[in-house]
Symmetry: C4
Subunit: 122 residues, 4 copies
């Protein structure tokens, strides 16, 4: 049973611009979820903003013994996350998973990367 | 109750130069605070230096169910954090929050990024 | 006894392209393992994908009081990890170690870097 | 009492080349130590390699309520850490501190950055 069922990522920002071939070099904000359990993981993602109510939950699943790398800029339901605006996120699951946060920023000609393990909240 | 009430970030440095459009591409050092509780969070930020007394606390608030991304280069009271100098910071709050450290460095033509979860101290 | 015996890294991606002199500037995905114990560490690395069964274990050893920085793009047995595809990894050892994840991405002319401590799962 | 007395950083690499003005843009590998206690911290840094005995301890101090950002490429006693070679490090102190790992890589024209909190081992 590797992981936790609640993870938090205070940093979030989808750059408005991109350089380079899509979708590989499209600026993106990603949460990588690893589910090593024998069960499918149901994940609920909630987005927090600076000046209005949270948006969500965005619902997704990660099959047993699989990983899913979710680009926040591709989420559509129950809404889109605005580009160029600060946000944060919380991921909640029904089985233990591990979550990692990554951004590729290609606003300028050469891409920049950042990553960190999310904060295990339970 | 997601998070802790004391967080530490040993790395801190506000680059003296920037390239690209302001304020988006201004070199900055940021702490992202996420408050998922039902209460407003009161946050006190203390800055530690290499060769003199700590500066602070800088006081701010993060509303209930909101995030705030605070650029250290915009803090003014009780003083400004000098650019081009190493520092560290400690964030203390009255309710549990989660803190993440991010820097955008645009001293050179292409920006570089770094991030890490802050260290949860309690 | 520094460390843990199970570590997880949800992010994984070996860029398909590289710029600059090999092997120094070849795009790579790395796990750095530190073994401070008095015993050789036997490590088993399992790779998780989005849409098929896990691959592994890849077996390696880290001598007592040594570090080993393992490039995932150089692993050959029991298979190669495909480039340009999302994956995740779990490292399991017989003695406590510490694991850190690093990527150098040289798809564009200037290299980008990311790192994070892996998630200690036990 | 913020922090721990033993920290591990499995990743370590001092690039052999640099671009840009020294020392600001010199490629460097850094450990940032924050001492929030009322006592001076005595720190011992040990370097681990892939194929030979550990080097150290490098001894330094961090005054009470101060931070120190130590560039591994400037350490001289009891030896220098070779450039262009993989290593790892362990930091041990007599009072609790917090340690963060940062690299600036300026081998190419535009600098890249990485950071992570070190692993708290006790």
């Amino acid at each position: 049973m590797i992981g936790k069922t609640t993870w938090a990522i205070p940093e979030g920002y989808i750059p408005e611009a991109s350089n380079g071939p899509e979708p590989e070099m499209t600026s993106h904000e990603t949460v990588c979820i690893l589910n090593t359990t024998d069960q499918e993981a149901e994940a609920n993602i909630t987005i927090y903003f600076e000046d209005r109510e949270p948006l969500g939950p965005f619902q997704t699943t990660v099959p047993s013994k699989r990983t899913k790398h979710i680009r926040y800029n591709e989420l559509k339901d129950p809404g889109e996350i605005p580009k160029g605006e600060d946000f944060a996120s919380v991921i909640q699951t029904n089985v233990p998973v591990v979550c990692q946060h990554t951004r590729l920023d290609s606003r300028q000609a050469e891409n920049a990367l950042l990553t960190t393990m999310a904060f295990p909240a339970d």
